[in-house]
Amino acid sequence: MPQAEVPGASIVCRALEAEGVDYIFGYPGGAIMPFYDAIVGAKFKHILVRHEQGAAFAANGYARASGRVGVCVATSGPGTTNLVTGIADAFMDSVPVVAITGQVRSHLIGTDAFQEVDIFGITLPIVKHSFLVRRVDDLPYVMKEAFRIARSGRPGPVLVDIPRDVQEAEAKHLRLLPRNLEEERPPAPSKESIERAVQLLKECRKPIVYAGGGVGMANAVEEFRGFIKATQIPVVHTLKGLGTLPYSDPLFLGMLGMHGFKQSNLAVQECDLLICIGARFDDRATGVLAKFAPNAKVIHMDVDASEVGKLRKAEAGVAGDIRPALKALTFPLPQIAAWREECLESKKQYAWKYNAPGDGVYVPAMLKELGDRADEKTIITCDVGQHQMWVAQHYGFRRPELHLTSGGSGAMGFGLPAAIGAALGRPDCRVICVSGDGSIMMNIQEMATLKRYNIPVKILLVDNQALGMVRQWQELFFAKKYSEIDLWDNPDFVRLSEAFGVPAFFLRERKDVPKAIDRLLKEPGPLLAHVSIEQAANVWPLVPPAKSNAEMVIEDHNK
């Protein structure tokens, strides 16, 4: 019997189906046309975004919300370079994304051909791995490896660059490789490292757990909560760790770092043992590193061995799967009772008062009300800036996968496309994108994607007619010399939204917030709420540059 010949583009398509992919996000063009020909009738659905950056962020949001690998597709040249910011974001925040890019024909590579860009070279520092596929016969192996690498260990983005002739070439004897879940489990930490960590826990008097996004990514939330329940150690979270311990848990002190709460930062500064779990001593969390937790010994637990000792020496470096490590450390610590009470008292003392004067919308209170009224199936995506920090401080997350934020790369424009991906990856959840007037304009074109597919994303647009975080820094640290932050000429966002076919409404008064939240939580389909606030509103607390976290500044009415 003659053997069927299979074009490379079909191999990619079949490989995606075999991986169980249900959505891919992309934008067609010349060098990726064979793939777009092959996906007609595929088992997965293609979402046509309006800019490739939207595809990369949508795949990113899909992956963060669903826990599965997100897939984005673009053509060569500008199509691929438009993916770069989204790939970098996935790298910085360890998000499993496979980016498939068309490339010019093999014989044209290196000739400056039309729409030729060395995307393999451009993305080398921002991918977990990458492939330039030279032979069609390699495609089954490459596709399997791309997915395995993206999701295994510390997840990250993988680029698969496929020249057009490889997509068109036909191959025989091809087999689709089986997915082998067993090989994806990270190694268990060494017995010696666990024993050392146990010893440090037994000796400590003032421990603090500093936990990041790595706990959720390791599917270790339950083990983490069990560890905290048994040890009763107070917890601070990084931006990406929020929700790992629920906001309502008495032992959760708050976010730490530049915009962390006072009780969180003070507790870290005073602790004698810092248990860092799935976090990486990021500068936004530590402030001046040399002054961070100055009296503490460190247990550092991370699936990525290269994070241990990278920025802060660890007395116990626990590299590997954090789930067995957490289980091994789950035992009572009766000696820390006095310290725990001290931390809880501090939490009471510095609790946010939500008492800002005036009648205008007070964003912290609005976000707190939203968090209080939303259920456990509400995902929040953010853009970057002041609103992002207000969300982190005041929404009150219950699970880490309900908070999608561009943490490491801080990419404005993330929120809306990430919300699109999240809504498709978690159709059982409500998705609300909290954005700012600067950020929303960076990927505003994806409003058209919302409308086209009737994706029920709600947008809460906080508009201060400025690049607020930059304005705040210019006010506080550049002698109020305001430079290029004024967005007085923003479009009318309600009319703009309606022009895209997405209903919208406006509010400015504090008294209108409950009704606005009603609409966001109850109305079907996409919807935009345009919230106008004072330009002078700032994010507090704040650790000034070159200061330790103990030297944070708080606004008057919250002192």
Binding site: Q3, G121, L177, E183, P189, R196, A305, A314, G317, V318
Partner: protein, 119 residues
């Protein structure tokens, strides 16, 4: 103080550039490189001499002991060892030996699975 990283690197698209980037862009100054392709052309044996980049005071250099784990993350790296340039003796990783098992080869072997989909 300079160090030498000895790396066995599977030959693959961009592998050498990726390796040098992982060293040079992560706080280490590359002082010299030698690479030789194995007789079967499957792998490179690479030696990289480097020293930690010295940032302005008061900031500290990156610890050289962390670099093997950083390099071991690269998919093509099969083996990595850090040596002190002066003594040529292996340098122990930090964290009570916790990082010794950092590199775990999980790569799927080349095609030969069970799910036939076109014959």
């Amino acid at each position: 103080m300079s160090f030498t990283l000895v790396v066995r690197l599977r030959k693959a698209e961009g592998a050498l550039v990726r390796l040098l980037g992982q060293i040079g862009r992560r706080g280490y100054d590359v002082l010299g490189v030698s690479a030789r392709l194995s007789p079967d052309r499957a792998a490179f044996d690479v030696q990289v001499d480097f020293e930690p980049f010295q940032p302005p005071a008061p900031f500290a250099c990156r610890p050289p002991e962390v670099l093997p784990a950083l390099v071991a993350k690269l998919v093509e790296v099969e083996k990595v060892e850090l040596r002190s340039a002066a003594s040529k003796a292996p340098v122990e990783p930090p964290g009570n030996g916790a990082l010794g098992e950092a590199k775990r080869k999980t790569g799927a072997s080349k095609p030969g699975g069970e799910m036939h989909w076109e014959e």
